[in-house]
């Protein structure tokens, strides 16, 4: 029982954490929270099922194509819904523009794919629902890979440092001659890859279902709210904690209780620590 809770908790938590990182990567580059984060996760599952399950492509080809498509959606988000409203960031129009794009993605998927959850093919044949089931291990592996990859990117590569510079101080970075717009598009592509990876890795866990987008939007945002905007470490810890908390409540008291508990924790954290548990202090208003 404890193993089951822990394993499924870590698995779903890894997905929430990755969606949280997707939010953060977009936020760091543009100061914009985008509703497309959860939709990217949904698309990872649906596209994976479409490429491998329906079209019968080899798993590795399906994987690469899925990530490439999600990266493209990421870039598209930047061009359509983010760049036009960046000028007036304080009006928060991005909330509406990214919401509109997210709804378009969700509805397009519902109509052209299916409104029912569809199966996601097994990649390694390790199934059965036990401790060895790949549906639990794939999200955890994906999460670990992203943690290591981001660490490498930010610490060791020039482009990663440029990302950090832009996140730290956009104006100063531009004054230094960094190609801010290209870096922002690259960040959105990276967010697309991470979100797509989260969806692909959790395809067997959550199935290929159009409504996963809204679910991931919310549950992926909770770790961001817990950890503070732009804080990846906070999002990973918050995501895994949320997953274990949710699955414990789910196993012990049932699904309704788990949903209510997660929502209550979210509201309470927002009221007590509006900047998140690891977040920075508020900006000056006057």
């Amino acid at each position: 029982m404890l193993t089951a809770i822990l394993l499924s908790g870590l698995a779903v938590g890894a997905v929430y954490a990755l969606i949280g990182v997707t939010y953060n990567v977009m936020f760091s580059a543009s100061r914009v929270m985008s509703f497309t984060a959860g939709q990217l996760g949904m698309l990872g599952g649906v596209l994976g099922a479409a490429f491998i399950g329906v079209l019968g492509l080899p798993a590795i080809a399906g994987f690469v194509l899925t990530l490439a498509a999600c990266a493209a959606i990421g870039v598209l988000t930047e061009i359509i819904a983010v760049r036009p409203v960046l000028k007036s960031l304080e009006q928060h129009l991005y909330v509406l523009s990214t919401l509109a794009l997210a709804l378009m993605i969700q509805q397009f998927t519902a109509i052209t794919w299916s409104t029912e959850p569809q199966p996601f093919p097994s990649l390694f044949g390790l199934q059965g629902g036990g401790v060895g089931d790949e549906k639990f291990w794939l999200p955890i592996l994906a999460c670990a890979a992203v943690v290591v990859g981001l660490e490498f990117l930010y610490r060791r590569t020039l482009i990663g440092r440029a990302f950090l510079a832009i996140a730290e101080d956009n104006f100063a970075a531009r004054a230094l001659g960094l190609p801010e717009r290209n870096l922002r598009m690259a960040s959105y592509a990276l967010a697309g890859v991470i979100g797509g990876l989260a969806g692909f890795a959790s395809g067997q866990l959550f199935l290929a279902f159009f409504a996963n987008g809204a679910m991931l939007n919310f549950l992926g945002f909770v770790p961001v709210a817990l950890g503070g905007l732009g804080n990846n470490r906070g999002a990973i810890i918050g995501g895994l904690a949320l997953g274990i908390f949710q699955q414990s409540a789910n196993f012990l008291f049932g699904g309704v209780f788990a949903s209510v508990a997660v929502f209550s924790v979210f509201i309470i954290v927002l009221l007590l620590a509006p900047q998140g548990l690891f977040g920075a202090p508020a900006q000056r208003r006057v």
Binding site: L93, A100, A214, V256, L271
Partner: protein, 583 residues
């Protein structure tokens, strides 16, 4: 611009709705019933989204709660069956409570966080409806309530919903045109100014969340009656999108716009069968287009008044003779006292042990180089910054920290370095916001336009026109504030501050960007205000103005007092001359 002319489009729409059943069939009557029910929800949600600017994208949750509450109570599967009207009341209660709970985070955090909260709440309500099978019937659902005769016929129920929709239009219009409606818009577009005017954000937002939740609950009960059978599938997120988008397409701060949008969006899918599947996609495209291309929505297209040219060559002529009437009887014998104030931002000491005394009836100049702590001092007095050490008192009474909304009641008003105005409201409405705390009527009295509400409105309007005449903007009262010149906005802010009937007026660089003539007018206005007994604290860089009108001058440098005294003393102070004024 008469009341009649404003009401005309609404009368037209509801008259057309009345004759609709006579000229069409039951099918169209049912569609119109649905539009009316949606409007009951949307009209109230409009106060939250369109006026207060809170992005409540998941309001379908309140509709769901209302629908289930009514159906369960009428069906009697948890307790003895209840009368359908009592059940609707219970639905309003449940919806209202849920509205307040979901709204709580909005008091501290705006925009994305709040949008997420409502989205999360909507998801959870659906999950509970699915899982709590004993009560809700789970995925199978349950029978909706049935109205008593004569409301059980298609036509009777339609008339009932239509009457309710008309009533909702009326009460939300009352609120929109009350100090509460203006305060909501102020919270949306100029929240710092709203707080300085004494508007209590928690109380006001709490009231509209409660109201919008309650109306959504009632709409839910009617929706369940219309559907005659409800299951979680009836309450998709698409419905929430419709409500939300109707308001944005209609235009923020408008009632007619969202009404038209609600009708159009409800009917749109009926025009062509393929549109049904794609309707939400279409709404989303519309939303994107509106956000990127026409942020004002339908209301901006219908706003012909703001396209009329205004006189280009205007000058400001102040009328200080009306000041006694504006400030009448609101005088203080006590000074504002600052003792040992220390405040740091990170490692920088913005204020480093400052003592200051602002006397009533005097103009006190606060000057110094950039970064010397002038505006910071003003923000400490008006309650936005919490100093690490020191005290701020009015006479002997301490002024509470971190509570800028309490300053107006203490008679302390202020203006801002960058004017904080509501661009979409008229000049008159902007000024009326300043007098929000002078109103006596409650939110409920405004909903129903009871006598105290009408008295408040007449009084605020009278006072605001007087204040506008005083600062020389009376001719622009009905013009949208974003069409004014920068210098006029500075005078507009002073008029808004005068609405508080201030005992102390804090001005943050009021002369910045003004022409020579305008600075002269400003000087005589400030001087006249202080002669009425109001203490003025003037942060300014124009040395000429300072030395001309101030009784006392304090010079700051690096957060400390460099010199203090009369203008004559300061003008010859050697350190001030070398550090700031130049010889």
């Amino acid at each position: 611009m008469g009341l009649l002319k404003q009401a005309l489009p609404f009368v037209g729409i509801f008259a057309a709705a009345l004759i609709l059943p006579l000229v069409s069939n039951d099918y169209w009557t049912l569609i119109a019933t649905r539009a009316a029910i949606y409007w009951v929800l949307v009209s109230a949600l409009n106060l939250v989204v369109g006026f207060a600017g809170q992005l409540a994208i998941g309001w379908v949750a309140m509709l769901t709660l209302g629908a289930y509450t009514t159906s369960v109570l009428v069906a009697g599967n948890v307790m003895p069956p209840v009368n359908v009207f009592l059940a609707l009341g219970a639905a309003a209660l449940v919806g209202g409570v849920a509205g307040v709970i979901v709204g709580l985070p909005a008091l501290r955090l705006r925009t994305f966080y709040f949008a997420m909260t409502t989205l999360g709440f909507a998801t959870i309500v659906t999950q509970i409806a699915l899982a709590w099978q004993d009560v809700t019937g789970g995925g199978i659902g349950l029978v909706g309530p049935v109205m008593p005769a004569p409301l059980d016929s298609i036509f009777g129920f339609y008339l009932f919903c239509l009457a309710l929709a008309a009533f909702c239009t009326w009460i939300t219009a009352n609120v929109a045109h009350s100090r509460f409606g203006r305060s909501l818009v102020a919270i949306r577009d100029a929240d710092v100014a709203a707080e300085s005017a004494g508007i209590s954000k928690p109380l006001l937002l709490g009231s509209v969340f409660l109201f919008a939740g309650a109306m959504a609950g009632i709409a839910g009960g009617l929706f369940a009656t219309l559907q005659s059978y409800i299951s979680p599938e009836a309450f998709t997120f698409d419905l929430s999108v419709l409500f939300f988008i109707a308001i944005l397409i209609g235009g923020r701060g408008s009632i007619l716009g969202p009404l038209i949008a609600t009708i159009v969006l409800t009917w749109l899918p009926e025009f062509a069968a393929p549109l049904v599947a794609w309707s939400t996609f279409l709404y989303a495209v519309l939303l994107l287009v509106i956000v990127l291309a026409a942020p004002g929505g339908i209301a901006a297209l219908l706003d012909f008044r703001s396209r009329r040219p205004i006189e280009a060559d205007r000058s400001i002529v102040v009328h200080t003779d009306v000041l006694p009437e504006i400030l009448a009887g609101r005088l203080s014998a006590d000074p504002i006292l600052l003792k040992g104030i220390v405040l740091s931002f990170g490692g920088v000491r913005a204020i480093d042990g400052l003592d200051l005394q602002v006397e009533p009836g005097q103009v006190h100049g606060l000057i110094g180089p950039n970064g010397s702590g002038k505006t910071t001092t003003l923000n400490v007095i008006s309650g936005f910054y919490h100093p690490e050490a020191g005290s701020v008192t009015l006479g002997t009474a301490p002024l509470p920290m971190d509570a800028p909304q309490t300053r107006a009641a203490s008679g302390i008003a202020r203006t801002f370095q960058t004017p904080r105005i509501i661009g979409e409201s008229t000049v008159l409405q902007n000024v009326m916001v300043g007098g929000a705390i002078n109103g006596k009527g409650s939110f409920v009295e405004s909903l129903l336009a009871l006598p105290r509400h009408r008295h408040d409105e007449a009084m605020l309007r009278h006072d605001a026109l007087l204040a506008l005449r005083c600062v020389g903007l009376a001719g622009l009262a009905e013009v949208r504030a974003d069409r004014l010149q920068h210098s006029e906005l500075r005078f507009l802010e002073i008029a808004r501050a005068l609405m508080v009937r201030p005992r102390f007026l804090l001005l943050d660089e009021p002369a910045a960007g003004l022409s020579g003539d305008e600075i002269h007018s400003l000087g005589s206005l400030i001087r006249a205000i202080s002669r009425q007994g109001t203490g003025v604290l003037l942060v300014e860089h124009h040395a000429d103005l300072i030395f001309e009108i101030c009784d006392q001058v304090t010079v700051l440098n690096l957060g400390r007092e460099l010199a203090a005294g009369t203008p004559a003393e300061i003008r010859v102070h050697s350190e001030v001359v070398s550090a700031y004024l130049g010889s």
